[in-house]
Symmetry: C2
Subunit: 428 residues, 2 copies
């Protein structure tokens, strides 16, 4: 029997849970796993001496023909590279699975993918990924009860476990720090509230948050995530008057972060030169000074900004950088995970509906903490990617074209597999 | 004697003062003026039956070779087109004068322009233009007195004359309405304050204004205009601790405008579809509602936003548009100049310096009102462009390459010509 050859692009932060999943399966299934990363040592470390895998670097930009050797490509590369990766997959009639958001650009490859009988499966991670899969499951349950859904709210956050929470922000870096700094900058966020479409520009996003109280868990701030309206159509909820997908942060995080946004420290649109002449203090004072902090009316904001300890004589390790790059440099140190620290993924759905003229509500929550090997973020993203890959390679997913996990039969399979890894929502 | 052939690109809002200046000169000087505009009627109306001119449309994108017929091109086209226009000028060894800001892209043509002995003269309008010319004159005066300049502030505004001021904003549209809506969006503003470089992101720009009290005139709000630091170098003020170029608005305009900025109504980065289904009210309520206005703590802001009368059932004349385009549609009606209305240009320099260990200050102001024929904006921009063109065609400007009006000999000539048109600063 021919072995199925899987190529994993990227061996970074969230790769090991995926790669271990694939290697474990390869004990039973005829699979061979190749891990590619520019940092070959990182890739090798993921495979070690496992006989079902190998590690080297395939530069898809310069040697795309290497894709010919594989049956399935799973990409953990930055989202901006996925259009190019998808194009190359189609060039060589290969299948692609990623955890990134689908885009109109990738969607434009749908006809070609169908013609070539290839699958390009997007949004197979945590958020997006498990959020759709679990939400659609809950929606289906309500529709089966003849419930008419009037409000849908879904929030997810990659947070720090309470036992490892040692700063005022309640936040440590369990995923790509650049994306943490740039979160929310992809244009105005869009959602439906009481029948009206609402647009939130970036500079208003962290100011206009909603308090999200999760039963038996805690109180968070939620901010609107991207364009929820795209999903309203896909979720097929014609009676829904409120529809919002959002991101969770610990209480007061958003208000304090908004101070940094307001003063321009998350700006990635221009470079500042001659940074060698700057200390952290002199750099930050180009944007705000201690007085501006003290004048803030909210003590919770003041305490959090002060905790970042921005007015020091530390030299900046850049010749030139955007404000966002310097803020990233600061938080990478302040919010680093320490040995033994555990992260925590929190996902929460709240759906209001009417049934026999009665108002009803369903709430469900998923809490997953990191373990000694993997962060909760890496587990939830990696295992979902792994499960979808397994279902595809064992012919349980027979779709072609550009897809996201919106098929209820397939989703049930994914949910039951996720449960084996203790990744499941529970009603609250 | 060969006639000098001048091509004026654009016959819009600020063209008539320039064209009349050129036609007047053509009574005495051997000049022939061609006015080009996509709207040929507009161009013809500017020339009428004058024997020294003609009007038609030259599409520089498709028929660049037409530039061959001219000695000098004066462009009133949008700034974004000027790189292309400059490239074509150099292709045919022609000279170019504009009132737009110089850019790194245009600056990159300097060597080629010098090789071809062509002049590309940028920033020959009001702001930029007269501001540099008058400021450098004042700076030279102080340096001659052995003054050491420690602070430089220069503000300019295209406002409405008090006698025509009939709305709370103190503002009517005397120049390009799209640019009014987008003002300040070209990236963070940058200036020097008490020895520290300050960066102001767009969403902070209209919030952090400075009160500018002009002696014998009035009180305004000033907001920082683009990158002042570029000019600090060119102005050669090594001891300057504060250096800011800014824009003037009537008091409270900026705070109220900031309400619109904050809520995303000036955003030009994305389109909203299906606007036919919207009224002005339902569109605005995607961003804020009457309650959000009422909750604003500043009554001056509340009154101004209410005056815009945004919550009406008026249909929107677009299928799709950016929020900025819809705001433009609103203010074009609310802030239209009525017959007889006069605009007013206000320019103000305030320079602090030390002389014999004594602190000194010089303040100067320019006020120019529109007349029955031309707005003050069109006069100040058009006449400056005309004067620079005249000095060039009569060999009083012998420069080549990419230039802005920074030569003190030439500037003195420009100042003395401007005076004939009652455009002059006076000490206050």
């Amino acid at each position: 029997m021919n072995k199925k050859k899987i190529l994993v692009l990227g061996a970074g932060r969230s790769a090991s849970a995926l790669i271990n999943f694939l290697l474990e399966q390869a004990d039973k299934l005829p699979w061979f796993i190749t891990v590619s990363d520019k940092n070959i040592e990182l890739a090798k470390d993921k495979i070690q001496s496992n006989l079902h895998g190998e590690a080297f670097f395939i530069d898809f930009q310069t040697e795309p023909e290497k894709f010919q050797n594989y049956d399935l490509i799973i990409s953990l590369l930055p989202p901006s590279l996925h259009f190019k990766v998808a194009q190359i997959c189609l060039q060589f009639n290969k299948n692609l699975i990623t955890a990134s958001y689908n885009t109109p650009q990738i969607e434009s490859l749908d006809a070609e993918a169908k013609r070539k009988k290839c699958l390009i499966m997007m949004e197979c991670g945590l958020d997006p990924g498990i959020d759709h899969i679990t939400a659609l499951d809950l929606i289906e349950e309500i529709k089966h009860e003849n419930g008419k859904i009037t409000s849908f709210k879904s929030y997810c956050g990659g947070l720090i476990a309470p036992e490892s929470d040692s700063n005022l922000w309640g936040y440590k870096i369990s995923w790509n720090p650049r994306n943490i700094v740039l979160a929310g900058q992809g244009g105005a966020s869009k959602f439906l509230k009481n029948g009206t479409i609402r647009y939130l520009p970036y500079h208003k996003l962290f100011d206009k948050t909603t308090e999200i109280s999760i039963p038996q868990n805690g109180i968070y701030d939620g901010y609107a995530n991207r364009d929820s309206m795209d999903y309203l159509k896909m979720y097929q909820l014609p009676d829904c008057q409120t529809f919002i997908r959002g991101t969770l942060r610990k209480k007061y995080f958003c208000k304090a972060w908004n101070f940094l946004v307001y003063h321009g420290l998350t700006d990635d649109s221009y470079y500042i030169e001659n940074l060698n002449a700057h200390t952290l203090k002199s750099f930050v004072e180009c944007f705000f000074n201690q007085e501006a902090i003290n004048e803030t009316s909210n003590i919770e904001v003041i305490n959090r900004i002060n905790e970042l300890n921005l007015f020091t004589d530390e030299k900046l390790p850049f010749e030139k950088a955007t404000p966002a790059m310097i803020l990233q440099f600061v938080i990478e140190k302040k919010w680093a995970m320490k040995p033994g620290d555990k992260d925590m993924v929190v996902m929460y759905h709240e759906i209001e509906y009417t049934k026999n003229n009665e108002k009803c509500i369903k709430k469900s929550v998923l809490i997953k903490k990191g373990n000694d090997k993997d962060t909760a973020m890496a587990q939830t993203v990696g295992i979902t990617l792994g499960i979808v890959s397994k279902l595809f390679l064992t012919n349980k997913i027979n779709k072609i074209g550009v897809q996201i996990p919106f098929d209820s039969e397939i989703n049930k399979e994914i949910l039951s597999e996720l449960k084996k890894y203790k990744i499941a929502m529970k009603a609250v």
